[in-house]
């Protein structure tokens, strides 16, 4: 009996050691990022894993902008863009999801099929044409243009939210309708409060889009005015071949500072993500 217990403890220890080993392996680059950001040397450290001299000088440099790095400004820019994108995208996604999930109308199926087809085109392809369209309206190098790019087509990403709405019991809506409740009130006062996980998920995920994306931002904000960049474009430009040797550590410091709030939001979101996704996938 005692022997059996021993072998059980040892498998548990082994099991947890395996997980720990995997976690350490997974975190190596992140640890390197944090360590390098505290290096005194500005270029890339190629000889040792840990920096030779530790210092927080590059974090203070981040808040004293020079012509290349204007981190506080970038952070503000991205924050403003993210707020607008978040509001518009969330509205669009939830509106489309409700209409296709709860309501029944003639154009429902054709519209949904159309969305599937449009989603199969590489987004990169449409982007080039969008760029020219924005250019002919003078909207390149403006935040308005970038916000439109991020949020205008967001309605296409309605499927997860729809999957969740599908699981809300229809009897509730029917009862409300019989009681003379308008569709608008059903939406705002019944479906939305019952769908908190998916609302939170939609809000956070659309807020994160401008922080994560650099391709579209790089394309739209192409005038090369450093103070108008978003965080992603700014950090990306720091690793240009001509700049990498004097800005690599600054890039790491900036990367750490951006990653902290994003990671926190992401960890909050993943809880709702799991709830939302499986709620939709399993039940409908």
């Amino acid at each position: 009996m005692k022997k059996m217990k021993n072998s059980r403890t040892s498998t548990i220890v082994l099991h947890n050691l395996l997980i720990a080993a995997l976690a350490i392996f997974w975190l190596i680059p992140i640890v390197w990022l944090v360590c390098t950001s505290f290096s005194e040397y500005s270029g890339m450290n190629t000889s040792t894993f840990f920096p030779e001299k530790w210092s927080a000088i590059h974090y203070s440099k981040l808040f004293h902008p020079d012509s290349v790095a204007q981190f506080p400004q970038w952070f503000m820019n991205t924050f403003i863009i993210a707020c607008f994108t978040c509001v518009i995208s969330t509205m669009f996604v939830l509106m489309v999801a409700y209409a296709t999930s709860v309501m029944r109308f003639k154009m429902r199926k054709p519209l949904m099929n159309m969305a599937v087809i449009l989603n199969l085109f590489p987004g990169m392809l449409a982007m080039i044409a969008v760029y020219f369209t924005l250019k002919s309206f003078g909207l390149t190098n403006s935040y308005a243009g970038l916000i439109m790019v991020y949020s205008a087509s967001s309605g296409l990403g309605y499927l997860i939210a729809k999957g969740f709405f599908d699981t809300v019991p229809r009897a509730l809506c029917e009862a409300a309708r019989i009681d003379g409740c308008s569709e608008a009130r059903i939406f705002f006062q019944i479906i939305l409060p019952m769908s908190r996980p998916i609302v939170v998920y939609t809000v956070i995920s659309s807020f994160l889009v401008p922080w994560m994306d650099f391709v579209y931002a790089k394309m739209i904000l192409n005038a090369g005015i450093s103070s108008k960049y978003t965080v992603a474009v700014g950090l990306f430009k720091m690793l240009d071949k001509s700049l990498i040797n004097s800005y690599f550590t600054l890039f790491c410091a900036g990367g750490v500072l951006v990653s902290i709030p994003i990671s926190i939001l992401f960890i909050i979101m993943q809880k709702f993500y799991v709830e939302g996704i499986t709620g939709g996938a399993v039940k409908g």
Partner: protein
């Protein structure tokens, strides 16, 4: 296969049926309607004015006027040139009045194409609107003739909060999608049939229709771009290999990791899960650019490898011919590394999804299996795995399509790092590690080769849609939408 045909047949059949229904409704309205309904064909407000819905009549009149104004002032300037995409090149002409050299009134092919398409879309929408209007007016006539109550304007408006609430909800999102996704895609489909490239860049010069020439050179036809066919086959091959391996490795890895983390033996599962999530929570442009420098030719991993003698060993057995290990700068090495790095990025994601699904595993089945004396492995094979496949199967298909279009990973890891030594690839601006999407991105961004980029884009679309159609029809039998409501 028969099932696929049936399903597609149903979709297409249903589509034409609804179009036919729409036209027959319109026809009946025109034939059976009274004089005001017929007058609505010319003046869209007529039918409403007859039923004393003056506000609606006014709105219809304004919309009609706007469409006519749009046609005269805007559309007519571009659509007549649509067939040729412009004929007048920009030239400096001496203006007698200002005594200066000025540009003539030249054509811009791109503007002509873009605004013509825009006009076509507006016209199409206007035509549908116009036909619906006649049908509505005819319905109104019937209501009035039957002596029923005719809605006032406020009541009509109220309907948009009630049974027509979906119109209120969908108008703006659909408009956004039409302008920012639909018209751009349409535009680039058309560009694939023109010679829009570096030598034909508006506004300095014109481009024009060339039929299927771009597709011919993509599939190995001759001409100046003879290498495109060569590069296309290789890029396509790698794209499919990449999509297959990256999807399967992260899927299996994610399931294994989630089984490991959700096992009863794990202490502090939440803590470990959070650690893994941190790697995907860091934005990809930070983590991937970092990893790329981590593995660069003069980077830290290479230093360590040469210190412990791995580089020397690999050179001895002939795997490496340089003084460093070309992790991301030589074919073969780069291909393997990209898939490995993608495991690092992708497994936590799949772990998240698999965790959510595993939590919903029907516990009664597990319990009875355990009572009957099934081993953990048997339970996994006979219960857990089929259930996971059933729930996440469709997601596997979308993941494959997403990976075909996985721009970020490839671009961030290889741009400016990987240079091809294959002359034929370089001639068509492709690299061995390119996916079709990164190739088309480079073609447009650095080489302004829009015609080939568009042709590639269409090919990507065709591949994705064929794959999705086949896979979904195999996996999802019928419509499960309402099953669990």
């Amino acid at each position: 296969m028969a099932e696929l045909k049936k399903n597609v047949g149903q979709t297409v059949g249903g589509f034409f049926k609804s179009i036919g229904g729409f036209f027959s409704e319109f026809g009946t309205a025109v034939i059976k309607g009274d004089i005001f309904v017929k007058l609505s064909l010319l003046w869209m407000g007529a039918g409403y004015a007859r039923r004393k819905q003056y506000i609606k009549a006014a709105i219809m009149t304004v919309i009609q006027a706007a469409v006519i104004l749009f046609t005269v002032k805007f559309a007519m300037e571009y659509i007549p040139k649509f067939g040729s995409l412009g004929t007048v090149k920009p030239e400096k002409v001496f203006n007698m009045k200002t005594m200066k050299n000025e540009f003539n009134d030249y054509d811009n092919s791109f503007q002509i194409l873009l605004f013509s398409l825009f006009s076509f879309v507006v016209w199409f929408a206007a035509a549908v609107f116009w036909m619906r209007n006649v049908v509505n007016v005819y319905k109104l006539q019937k209501t009035a003739e039957a002596g029923k109550h005719v809605n006032t304007f406020l009541e009509d408006l109220h309907a948009y909060k009630e049974e027509k609430f979906y119109v209120t909800l969908l108008t703006l999102p659909v408009l956004g999608v039409v302008i920012f996704t639909f018209i751009p895609i349409l535009l680039l489909i058309f560009v694939a049939f023109t010679n829009y490239d570096q030598n034909h860049m508006p506004p300095n010069s014109l481009f024009t229709w060339v039929g299927f020439d771009n597709f011919l050179s993509l599939f190995g036809g001759g001409g100046l771009t003879a290498t495109f066919g060569y590069a296309f086959v290789r890029v396509l091959g790698w794209t499919l290999v990449w999509a297959l391996f990256s999807t399967i490795t992260t899927y299996i890895g994610g399931i294994l990791l989630s089984l490991l983390l959700n096992s009863k033996k794990t202490r502090m599962p939440k803590f470990w899960r959070t650690l893994f999530i941190v790697t995907i929570a860091v934005p990809q442009f930070v983590s991937l650019l970092l990893v790329r420098n981590f593995f660069s030719n003069g980077g830290i991993v290479n230093t360590i490898c040469s210190n412990i003698g791995l580089t020397g060993f690999l050179r001895d057995i002939g795997l490496v011919s340089t003084s460093y290990i070309p992790f991301l700068s030589a074919p073969g090495w780069a291909h393997v590394m990209i898939i490995l790095i993608n495991i690092w990025i992708g497994v936590p994601y799949q772990m998240l999804i698999a965790t959510g699904v595993l939590m919903n595993l029907p516990s009664d089945q597990l319990e009875s299996a355990r009572v009957d004396g099934a081993t953990p492995f048997q339970i996994f094979r006979k219960i857990t795995m089929p259930y996971l496949l059933f729930v996440t199967g469709p997601a596997l298909v979308t993941d494959f399509v997403k990976n075909i279009n996985n721009f970020n990973v490839i671009y961030l890891l290889t741009e400016n790092v990987y240079t091809t030594t294959n002359q034929a690839m370089a001639n068509s601006q492709a690299k061995e590690v390119d996916l079709l999407v990164t190739w088309l991105f480079r073609l447009t961004q650095d080489y302004y080769n829009y015609k080939m980029a568009s042709a590639i884009g269409i090919v990507v679309f065709v591949i994705c849609s064929i794959f999705t159609l086949v896979a979904f029809n195999r996996m999802i039998k019928g419509d499960r939408e309402g099953t669990y409501q």
